[in-house]
């Protein structure tokens, strides 16, 4: 029997969702380890999570300083080797600044910090985190950000669409992607994308805050629990886990 997935949860100065991910680990059967940003080695991690928050105060730009934290070199190598990486909210912003994912997250178009439950349409169910979802279905996750307006040049957006790398879009409760359902002005209502190989997921919503029915929903569990099944199906990962 394989062991529990070992998940490195990165902690930058100003990260705030790391404890939520540590809490979730108990629910989804992860062995989570909080990893301070000055570490240079991910150890035996099967997966890496970049949680939400305000890394390094988000000074200059969101994620701009964090991308140069020592641990990010290891994350870049881990991602390039096909390792599962999830960046939520500020973690998504750090991944774009690091160039691991394309585009950038700009100030919300209405300038407000938006904290709410947000329906999302699942566009594709690829990679380590989305395997339990069904394309076309509507899920609901909390958002909590002031800088979530996804922007990339039109050519980049076209390529993301053409290659099926837009995995989540802001939608209404019926799954319709409309301007009114877009909470921040993201181009093409983009809420989450994956890299070319599909192993790196960046999304503005917080799956770790949707894991208990008592607080409003459990769709986040379906994303975080999918990792275990994915690892079992990957020969290299499965071997490491024996």
């Amino acid at each position: 029997m394989s062991r529990a997935p070992r998940v490195a949860v990165l902690v930058f100065p100003g990260t705030w969702s790391d404890r939520d991910f540590a809490h979730v680990a108990g629910l989804v059967g992860w062995e989570a380890r909080l990893l301070w940003h000055t570490e240079v080695d991910l150890g035996d991690a099967d997966a890496v999570v970049l949680p939400g928050g305000f890394a390094h105060g988000d000074h200059l730009r969101t994620g701009a300083i964090a991308r140069f934290s020592p641990v990010m070199r290891a994350v870049e190598a881990f991602a390039a080797a096909g390792g599962p990486v999830l960046g939520s909210c500020n973690g998504f912003q750090v991944l774009t600044e690091a160039g691991i994912l394309p585009g950038v997250l700009l100030r919300n178009d209405h300038l407000e910090f938006r904290c709410d439950w947000q329906p999302l349409r699942v566009e594709r169910a690829v990679g380590p985190w989305l395997g339990a979802l069904t394309p076309g279905e509507t899920i609901c996750l909390p958002i909590s950000h002031g800088e979530g307006r996804y922007y990339a040049e039109a050519s980049v957006l076209d390529e993301l669409d053409a290659t099926g790398r837009v995995v989540l879009r802001y939608a209404d409760v019926n799954g319709a992607v409309t301007p009114d359902a877009n909470p921040n002005g993201s181009l093409r209502s983009i809420a989450g994308i994956v890299n070319e190989r599909g192993n790196v997921l960046g999304l503005m919503p917080h799956p770790e805050r949707a894991v208990e029915a008592e607080v409003g929903g459990t769709d986040g569990l379906r994303i975080l629990r999918a990792l275990d099944d994915w690892l079992v199906m990957q020969p290299a990962a499965a071997e490491r886990r024996l």
Binding site: L60, A64, E97, P102, V104, R107, H110, Y151, G185
Partner: protein
């Protein structure tokens, strides 16, 4: 020698700037009816050491491309001047 650069970071044209639009609306509400647009940006004053002007310009280019701007959304230009010791004494 010491140099002082005033680096202006601007959002690329074509990217919506809700902060600038809000400021423009504020100006119009004060009666400045002629205001048609405002683009918000950042001003960074960077004091640093470099051997000569060419080295200072080269260093600034690197600073801007590696950290001070995200080329996906921003551009930068700067004014570079020798940082006179007297001016430093006044500011400190």
């Amino acid at each position: 020698m010491r140099w002082l650069a005033e680096v202006h970071v601007r959002l690329r044209s074509g990217i919506a700037d809700p902060e600038g639009q809000t400021i423009a609306g504020g100006l119009r509400s004060l009666g400045f009816d002629g205001v048609t647009d405002v683009r918000a940006g950042k001003l960074l004053r960077v004091s640093f050491e470099a051997a000569d002007r060419a080295a200072a310009e080269a260093a600034l280019g690197q600073m801007c491309s590696r950290l001070l701007t995200n080329p996906v959304m921003e551009t930068a230009d700067w004014e570079l001047s020798a940082d006179e010791p007297a001016a430093v004494a006044i500011e400190s």
